[in-house]
Amino acid sequence: MELKNKKLSRDEFLKIREEVLNQWPTGRDVDLEEAAQYLKSVPDYKNFCVKLKKAKDEGITLAQPRAGVALVDAHIELLKYLQNEGGADLLPSTIDSYTRQNRYSECEVGIEESKKAGRSMLNGFPAVNYGVKECRRVYESLELPLQARHGTPDSRLLSEIIHASGWTSNEGGGISYNIPYAKSVSVEKSLTDWQYCDRLVGIYEEMGIHINREPFGPLTGTLVPPSMSNAVAIIEGLLAAEQGVKNLTLGYGQCGNLIQDVAAIRALVEQAEEYFKEYGYDIELTTVFHQWMGGFPADESKAFGVICTGSAAAALAGATKVIVKTPHEAVGIPTKEANAAGIKATKQTLNLLRGQRLPLSKELKDEIELIKAETKCIIDEVLKLGKGDIAVGTVKAFEAGVLDIPFAPSRYNAGKMLPARDNNGAVRYLEFGNVPMNKEIRDYNRKLLEERAKYEGRDVSFQMVVDDIFAVGRGVLIGRPEK
């Protein structure tokens, strides 16, 4: 079947489905009708869409941690702790890395080893191996909406299992869960597989069930210029909408310059809504702001500084939710205590700033316009390459380096674009590679980087990029040369 941005027919969907449910024995327990009944019993306060809508209407920013361990009971204990002690507003189940690569037999090893070792040997919760029954047990043990968070290029079986278990949100997308997470999965393949995941949500919607979908905004989490991540978010939003998704949360990973961060969220909402309108999709749109996704400082107090700065930016931007890091970030998967600590620091910050927004200034307005203009250059070219089909255009755009994610592991990514911070810490394009921008934008980005170079008394170069990658972990935003 050829990739096209067109809603899968029910027949096409069901045909693929047969194969999907056979990928691992637990697939056989998923029954669409029965699952729909189950999902209809999810109360409002445990439904992701409802909780997000309420937060959006009240202008509140919700806090959501990441968390997942190998064994079900330990996983439930962990999530309950984050709910009760941490005060999380939304809960995750972070899926382990073997599942993300569909290596379910390695998960079995991980589960067994974890039992033996008495601690989790997996970096997440292997939901597919456990299947619907156990995943429902997780859902039923909790009092908050539950979402799968992962990084799975082909998450069709995973999506079937988690939604059938009452988990009312799924993170990911054909670009955002491939390029940063895989090496040799073609964009065509992952887009096709995520059409399936989106279609599944669309089919539930047709049955009157509301499920939220969230493209993964931060991508590699490392100096991604806002216009590049916004372009990807909007493309994934459009692809999901075509498959019948109605409730979307678009995401963005903190870059560190407050004005740029706030501008990125505002530009994202405004521009996504314009595109949805243009294409006639009726979407309930919310946003997610990721606290700093790059390398963290190992010192826990310093980590709190990073966490709270991100929370403040999320609040001032008016994001609907914020994804929380922990004081253990630089070292390893957090204990439940460290995870709760991250949530508490985040919520305190959000509460202190509740209702406060960064007011519109010339600087903020200019930055919003710049991000929108850059994003438009990219999306226009994607559409052109696809002759109007954004799915086809996306495949071609990665081939051409029009879409290009810095530091991504995928061999389907050109890796020619290079970002660096300007003198105010905002992330700019150092090398455009084949990312298409008009001359004005190119000159402006260059000018800003030259300003920094001058201030630092060195040339604009790859060394700046390297320095910027290490900077936050070393306690500063901008990687200036040592004095």
Binding site: S97, G110, P180, G294, A330, P334, F407, A408, P409, V466
Partner: protein
């Protein structure tokens, strides 16, 4: 003559940033770097080392499954005839914040010559490698 090393991220691990930095740093330091990238099975490390006649294999594991993924690598190297090849490993090797001494011991027991804690600077490893290979 330039010494050849094999570099890669083991298992189902996709963390690419440190890998790119290490490639850059070791190349700058005068090594011939064969970077097999992320998501690399043990076999790929070994094959690359045999093909290029490498003197050391530098394994990264960031995502926490290092303990499972690295097991048996030394034995497989031995079997493949890579007797006494230097094996370094670094990154966020285990799940969670654990006592470093115990982690180091676990990986030494697996046959790694040097084991590095989270956030080790490339310079540290470059110096060690030069020392272990008797360069400079």
């Amino acid at each position: 003559m330039k010494k050849t090393i094999v570099l890669g991220v083991i298992g189902a691990d996709c963390h690419a940033v440190g890998n790119k930095i290490l490639e850059h740093a070791f190349t700058q330091a005068g090594f011939n770097v064969i970077n097999i990238g992320v998501l690399s099975p043990q076999e790929d490390f070994i094959n690359a080392a045999i093909e290029t006649n490498a003197e050391a294999i530098l394994v990264s594991s960031l995502y926490g499954h290092g303990e499972i993924d690295c097991r048996g690598l030394r034995e497989k190297c031995d079997e493949a005839g890579l007797k006494d090849i230097l094996l370094y490993v670094g990154g966020n090797l285990v799940v969670g914040k654990q006592d470093w001494n115990s982690v180091e011991q676990r990986f030494k027991d697996m046959g790694f010559n040097r084991v590095y804690p989270p956030g080790t600077s490339p310079d540290t490893a470059i110096n060690d490698l030069k020392h272990d290979l008797g360069v400079e």
